[in-house]
Amino acid sequence: MDLIHEGKVKRVLQDPDSSERVIIEFTDLVTAGDGAKKEEFAGKGAVACDMSEYLFGYLEGKGIDTHYVKKLSANQILCQKVTIIPIEVVCRNIAAGSFCRRYGTEKGTRLSEPLIEFFLKDDAYHDPLITVDAIIRLELAKREDLDFMKSIALSVNYYLGELLKQRNLVLVDFKLEFGRTEKGTIVLADELSPDTFRIWDSSATSMDKDVFREDKGDLVATYLKVFEEMKKAKPQDVEPRTESIQVIVETKSGIKNPPGEVTKKALERLGFADVKDVRMGKVFTIALKKPITSEILNQLAIMNVKLLSNPISENHKVRIE
Amino acid sequence: MITKEEMEHARTVLGREPTETELGMLDVLWSEHCSYKSSKRWFYLFKTKGDRVTLGIGEGAGLVDIGDGYLAGVAMESHNHPSQIDPFNGAATGVGGIIRDVISQGCKAVGLMNCLRFGHLAKPHNAYLLENVVRGISEYGNSVGIPVVGGELEFDDSYDDNCLVNVVCIGWVKPEEVVRSSAKTPGHHLVMFGSTTGRDGIAGVSFASETFSDEEEENRGAVQVGDPLSKKIVIDTLQELIEEKLLDGLQDFGGGGMTSAAGELARAGGTGVEIDLDKVPLREADMKPSEIGISESQERMLAIVAPENLDRVVLLLEKNGTPYGIIGKVTDDGDYTAKWHGEEKARLPISLLVDGFPVPERIESKVPAQTESMAWFKEPEDYKKNLLDMLGSDNLCDRSWVYSQYDQHVQSNTVVDLGENSGVLEFPNGRKLAFTSDCNSFWCLLDPQQGTANSACESLRNLVAMGATPIFIADCLNFGNPERPESYGQFVESVRGLGRFSNDFDIPIVGGNVSLYNEAEVDGETKRINPTPQIMIAGIFEKGFTPVRRNLVSPWANIFLIGETLPELNGSEYQRVTTGRVKGIPPRYKPEPEKRAMRVIQEAHQKGLIRSCNNVGRGGIAIALMKMALRSEYGFKLNMDYIPGTANSLAQRLYSETSGRYLAEVTESKQPEFLEIVEKHGSSVCELGLTTKEPVADFGVFSLTMEEAREVFSNGLKQYME
C-alpha cells in the first residue's frame, strides 16, 4: 500500500481497492508540545482507533457527514479520500491548555459560550492561531466554508457533550479537522480520540492526553477507562439539536425598492436626518431537524433560487448561526 | 378584571371557590365587552322589530329580508383598544372578526366598512396609527377578497390616546341556508376548525374593558395576529360545508375565545357543552388548559355536527387542509364542562357563565347644558381663504389617500365606489343596496341625545340623496368609562337619541356593539373620547333604479336647496376651524322637517327628476356644494342673498349645519314638476343658482377656481402622510 502521508502518530495509506478511499493507520505513538515529547505505549493505537470508530459512527447517526467508512483492523479504519483543509477547528467550553497560556486565564474557567478558534495547519509555523479574515485573505478557505465548519464544530460539541454528560463527564475542548471530497463537499476528517479532545470527570481529573502532557498517569489505561464510560452512555437519549440557517434576501442595487424609499422618508419625518438610503429585504430563519450538511446546503442553494428569492431582482446570502 | 361583587356572586351560586380555569372563563365572559353588563339594560329603547327583520340583535349577524329570495346580513364591531397598541394587527383582526360574525350565520361576506377616529395628524403618533390601521385593514380585507364599500374618518384631540376602529361586514344569504348559532341537540359533536390555538390575545376582552394606563407596552401580549390566507380557506371550506347542509349550528371564536363561542351556543340552545381541551389543535405545545379556553387566536370556527355527518365534515376539512379538532359534544346538563386529559378543570352552569353576572350599579349624571350663544361668531374677513381652509381641514378634506388602499371592486358587485354618499352593492337577485355610516362626535359631545339622532339623520340623508330607502341600522357605541357618571350619562343620552330616531323613522336596529372604557390617564388627568355613536344605515333601491351620484353632470341646470337654514353654527366645522373648539347647543334634531325633505327627494328620484344630489351636513351648504363640483367637470354660480330660514349672514348660510336639507341638480325642463313635489310635501325650497361649464365656484360675493379647491382638498390628508 502506498503511503500518502506520514503524520506524527497516524499514517494515511492509499486503499488498493478504490482510488477514492484511504486507510488510516493508528500507531502506538503519542506526542505533545509540538512534537517535543514523544513516547510509545502498547495498545494506544488500538484504543484511539476504537474510539474514532465509535464516535464517528455516533456522529454520523446524528446526521453529521464524516469521512469514516468502516473499521478494517484493530488499528486501521477505511475513510473517504479527502483533501484536508489546512485549518484546525478548536472548540472550547472550559479554559485549558494553550488558551490559558495565551491570555493568563485560570485553568478550569467555564466560558460563557462555546468558543471556536481556528489554527493554521503548518508545522513550520507551529500551527499558529489564525483569524477568520486572515484565512479568507490568504484564500485558504471561503467564508461559507468556515461558517459551515464552525457550525459542525458546535454540533459536535453538543452531541459529544450531551453524551458525556450522561456519565458525569465534561467535554472541556476538542480539535477537529475537515476535508473536501472529490465532489467538493466538506466532511469531518482526521480522528476523534482523547488525543484530540479534553475530557474531565466530575472532580476535574483529566481523562485525555493531558495525563501524558503533564505526566499524571497511565495513558492507555485512562483512554480505555474513558472509552468504557462513554460506551455506557445511551446515544438514543441525546435529543436532536435544532440548527438554524438564515437566508438573507436583498433587492439588487439598481432596482427600485419602494418599501425602502418610503421607509427612508418616514425616518426623515421622525428626525433621523442622516440617512442616505434604505433598502428593505427579507430574512428567512430556517430551523433544521438535523445538523447542517453539505447536502443540505446544496438543497438550500437550489431553494434560494427557485423559491426564496427572485434572481431577476434579488440577491441572497446564507448565514449559518 | 372580575370585581369583588362578581366573585362573591360566583362563589354563592357555585357553593365553592371557582378553579383557576373557571376564574379565567368568568373574567372573560363577564367583561363589559362580552356581557354588555352596563349597556344591555337600555336597549329596550331601540326599535328592533320590523317586517323585514328575520334575525335581530343577539346572534352573530342581523338578517334582513330584501325580497326576491335573499337576506342581507350585517354585523358591526369595534376593535379600539388593540388598535391603539398595535394598529396594524388590531385593525386587521378587527376586520377578521367581523367577517367571522357574518359567515358564522351562513352568509357570504360581500362588503366591508370601516369607521376610524384618531387625534390630529400633525402629531406624528396619530399619523403612525392612521397609516398602520389603514394598512392592516387593507392587507386583511384585500387578501380575503371582500371589497370596502363605506366608512368614515374623523379627527379630534380626544382620540389621541384612544383611537377608534369600528368595522362593519355585510353579507347575503338565502333564507334556507341560514345557520343558527345554537346547539340544540345533546349528543351532537363540537368541531372546531380554521386555525391552531396559541396564546394570542389571552384576556383580550378583559383588556378591552379597561382604560389605558402608562404601562401600554405590557399590553402588547393581548393583541391577536390575523391570517387572511387561513380566513379565505375557512370561507371556502364553510361554503362546501353549508352547501352540503352538514352543519347544525355555527359560531365563530371571537372575543372570549372558546369559552364565549361554546357558551353562547349552549345558552342559545338551552343545552350544555362538554369540552376536551386536550383535543384542541395547538400552535404552542405547552399551553395550560386555562389558557386554551380563553385564547383569542384568530380564524377559528366552532361547528355543531350531527353524528351522521361527522365523517363527511372531517373529510372536507382535511381536503381543504384546515387544522381542526373534534373537541367535545353537546350535553343536556346545562353546564359548561372543560376537561383536560379526562380531568375536570371547570364546570360552570351556562346560566351563570353567559348571563349570570350580578348587574352592576351604574349612575347616570346629567350632561352639562350648553347655551345658544353665538358670541364667538364672526364673518370671515376673507371668504375665499376661509373656504379653502375649511376644504383642506382634516374633517372635510379628501379621503382618497385612505380608500385607494382598499380593494373596492373584488367580487364585481360594486355599483358605486367609495367617494360618493354611500357605497352600493348589487345582490344576486338584482336588488341594489346602499351603505353609509356617520357620526358627528362634536354634535354628540355637546348634546349626546340630539347629536346622536342628528348623526343618524345625516346617514339617512346620504342614502336618500342617492335614491335609496333606509331599511336597517347597525350601530357601534363608543364611550368612556361607565363607572364614571359623566361617561355613563353621555352613553344613556346617546342611546335615547338613537332610540328616538329608530322609532321616529321606523327603521329597525338589527346589529351592533358597545365599546366602553375608551379613556386614558394622561398626566394624572382623565382624557375621554367624544361620545361616538357610530351609526350605519343600509338602504334599498327600487328595482331598475340607477343610484344617483353627487357629481354635477350638466351645465345650466338649477341647483335647489331643500329645507330651511337656521343660524345653527354651534358645534359646526366652521366653529371648530375658526375658533379651534366646539361649544354651544348643536343643530337640533327635527324629525318632521327631516321627513318632509326626505319625502321630497324620494318622490323626485322616483320620477327621475334629479340628476345629482347631495345631503347638507358637516360643513354646511358650502362644503356640500363644493363636493358636488370637485369631481365633476362643472362649476356653479350662486345667489346666496335669500334662502329659507333665519340664517342672516353669508357665512351663516354657507356653514350652518341645520338638519333636514338637501341639494339637488335639476334641469330646467324638470323644474316645475320638482317644485310641485316640494310644495306637496310642505318642505321649503329655493333655487341657489345654476351649474356652469366654467370650473369656477362663484358664491356671488366671492369665488374660487375648482383647481385651487382641488389642490387644497386633495392635500388635506396627504400632507401628513407622504
Binding site: 427600485k256 427557485k306 431577476i312 | 394598512r135 377578497g145 387542509g321 385607494s404 373584488v410 364585481s412
Partner: protein, 230 residues
C-alpha cells in the same frame, strides 16, 4: 371549449372571472382548485389564472403558487399554443414561473392602489386585442405589487417584437409618468410571450365587464380570448 379557471389557496377573484366568462357565448369556464394538480388540466383548452393573494403573497406575490405541480400543466398548455391569461396575481405567477419575462415589484408608492385607470391598446394586432387596436379602454386596478420590471435586453425584445398590448395612459391616450399608477417601466400594464398565446396583465378586465360596474371595456379582451380557443 373548456376554460380552466385556477384557484390557489388565497386566490380571491375566481368568481369575478367565472361570471365574466359565463357572459360570453361558447365559453365553458370550470373552476379548478390547484390541489387537483395535472389531472385538473387534462380537459383544459385554455387557462385563466385569476387575481388574489395566492398563499397570502406571504413570500413574494405569486412565488409559492408558481412552484405548485399544476403549473407544469400550465407550462405544457402554453407550449402547445393554447390561450392563457394571467390577471393581476395571475400575471405575477406567470412571471415567477418564467413563462413571461420580468418581475412585478412593489408599487412605487409602496402601498396598495385601487382605482380606475385608462389603458392604451397597442397598434399591432395580438390574440387578445384584435379589433381594439389603438383604443383607450377603462378598467380598474387593485394591487400592491404591479411595478413591472425586466432587464434591458428583455425590454428591447418586448418593444421590438411588439409584445406590449397594454400601457397605462390618461383618458386621451397620452402616455406619461403622471398616468403611471405604480412605476412600471415604460408604463407597461400587460405583456405577451413570444408565441403570442400567453397574456399577463395587472389591470382587471374581469371587473370591467358590465356597464353597471363602471365599464364593460374588459369584455372585449375576454371575448378575443374565448374566440382564440380551438
Amino acid at each position: 371549449m373548456t376554460i380552466a379557471v385556477l384557484r390557489f389557496p388565497g386566490t380571491n377573484n375566481e368568481n369575478d372571472v367565472l361570471r365574466a366568462l359565463s357572459l360570453i357565448d361558447g365559453a365553458d369556464p370550470v373552476l379548478v382548485p390547484s390541489r387537483k394538480g395535472l389531472a385538473g388540466l387534462e380537459e383544459a383548452d385554455a387557462i385563466v389564472i385569476p387575481g388574489g393573494f395566492s398563499y397570502g403573497d406571504y413570500l413574494r406575490a405569486g412565488a409559492v403558487a408558481s412552484v405548485e405541480t399544476i403549473t407544469e400543466g400550465v407550462r405544457n398548455l402554453a407550449e402547445d399554443g393554447k390561450p392563457i391569461i394571467g390577471i393581476c396575481n395571475g400575471f405575477q405567477i406567470l412571471t415567477e414561473m418564467g413563462l413571461l419575462p420580468g418581475v412585478l415589484l412593489p408599487n412605487k408608492s409602496a402601498r396598495f392602489i385601487c382605482k380606475w385607470i385608462y389603458l392604451k391598446v397597442c397598434d399591432n394586432t395580438t390574440m387578445f386585442t384584435e379589433g381594439m387596436e389603438g383604443r383607450v379602454i377603462r378598467v380598474p386596478i387593485a394591487h400592491a405589487e404591479g411595478n413591472y420590471y425586466c432587464s434591458d435586453d428583455e425590454r428591447e425584445s418586448l418593444k421590438d417584437e411588439l409584445r406590449i398590448p397594454f400601457k397605462y395612459c390618461n383618458e386621451a391616450g397620452d402616455l406619461d409618468d403622471a398616468f403611471n399608477p405604480n412605476g412600471s417601466i415604460d408604463n407597461i400594464a400587460g405583456i405577451i410571450n413570444q408565441k403570442g398565446n400567453v397574456l399577463g396583465m395587472m389591470p382587471h378586465p374581469d371587473r370591467a365587464y358590465r356597464p353597471i360596474l363602471g365599464s364593460s371595456d374588459g369584455l372585449a379582451i375576454l371575448e378575443n380570448f374565448v374566440r382564440a380557443i380551438k
